[in-house]
Amino acid sequence: MYGIAMAKGLLVTLKNLAKKPFTVQYPEERVKQHPRFRGEEFVWYEERCTGCASCAKYCPLGIIKIVTTPSETAPAEGDKYRLEVFDIAINQCMFCGLCVEACPYDALFMGSGFEQGQYSRKEMVIGIDQLRQAEKRPSTFFRPQLEDAGYDPKDGRPLHWEEVGRESWQWHQREKAGMMIDRPVPSDLLPQEPPVDSSFVEDSQAAPAPTPGEEAE
């Protein structure tokens, strides 16, 4: 009896004929992207970054390049190393997220995009200016404070540096390695209009930029 299998097969085909297709037509329709998605480009908060280069040391491929100089302001006044270069060679990046895991100050976050193809390899290196200007829609990967607030990078607004840190959720020091602990987290903790630290903005603008004349010499 060779007909049975064919009849069975046709029956399955007929059943599926009436169903909605499982696939989506990509550029028009999209599947839901989860908030933890590890994508490009990286979200970096200069205000939170101390230039410790933990991310660069922990990157398995060594594609993060950081150059810092000590600024003239005294450390007692709350100043830190000034970042000159923060390059991420994103064409070599494998999006493992270890740099984000290593960052102790919540300054580096994974991004949430995946559609940034370029025509040349030079354009694939994300520089400090690009990181500064990029829209800050951080992924919630390894950042429980964002996840507890129910933040979704695809739906939510861009986040300010003051509202992404662990300290705004008052975490204990020991709880930083992603350990699940019973912690009381108010869900409405996201401030609507974060106050901008005007003194810091002035400070970063006051940083001496090399003039063209100096460079020529």
Partner: protein, 368 residues
Amino acid sequence: MPIQTEPMTVNIGPQHPSTHGVFRLRVTFDGENILEVEPIFGYLHRGTEKLAEERNYVQIVTLTDRLDYVSSMINNQAYCLAVEDLLDLEVPQRAKYLRTLTAELQRVASHLMGIGFFLQDLGTLGTPLMYAFRSRERILDLFEMLCGARITVSYMRPGGVFFDAPDDFWPALDQFLKDFETEYKEIEQLILENEIVMVRTRGVSVLPLDLAINASVSGPVLRASGLDWDWRKMDPYDAYDRMEFDVPIATGGDNYDRFWVRIQEIHQSIRMVKQCIQQIEPGPIRADVPLILRPKPGAEAYGRVEASKGELAFYLVSDGGISPYRCKVRSPSLINLTVTEHLLVGWKLADMIVTLGSLDINMGEVDR
């Protein structure tokens, strides 16, 4: 007087869709009959073992994703077990359950791919493969929810997993298990008793049990030859000692039995996932370990798991530094490939591709 034919040597691969990666077979045919087979591999060699010697213990987790890229979770698990053995780390209970759960989901995904490509090699042109991929896609979606990536997960770390599951993961997993029951039944009733599949695969390329044992074959290929050998039962790791499951055994050792064992293993894996959901309890998910690990000089460890293709093991030797002195990978696909010649000689060209599909090899793991 019969017509004289001349043996002809044909290269199949390395760029051939049915060799499952960059794998080359030099086959000598007499007409359609196979006289000699020589498997040639190494086209995907990336030097994983050497690269591991210059990365620290957590960074190597990202390398293990790329070994057998259809079962990354299980690779992570094998490596993490080796490092935990090296450092005598105690893994929290919740992490053990999360690892077991994700490893079993990954086994389902890997076996679905194995079944789908086996049937594709048989000439079913897409339909069962797409049915298998439909379910696999749901599993990968769950992984994206869990750890942010679908294939290169890097979910586990020495000492646990890097993060707990988000709140919406558990309802999504329940929904998947509900849908998978009907989806899988559909695949099963379509192909398991199919006459064409039976005629093409029953009694073809039989692997006798003594050869299987002598060649150190493991996984579904060994169990299809009739030996009850599963590391999850023999030497339970993570939470497998608290799981109830059966090990499906077939006795024929032919292509159909290898295919049948995989189909049955999916049922057992789903059973284990359900048990994990019931037994898992809140708690810490990672042992309190620093980011840079330093084992004692001279320490060595061998961590093995029952991966979807067979016994996967990592052998690590430490010299006291932040990276291992030696990292050896025992990959099941490579060792299962060594019996290719015995399986193929005497059979026909059309059976060759099917037999290769029934071994379910993965070139990322063979060449490392």
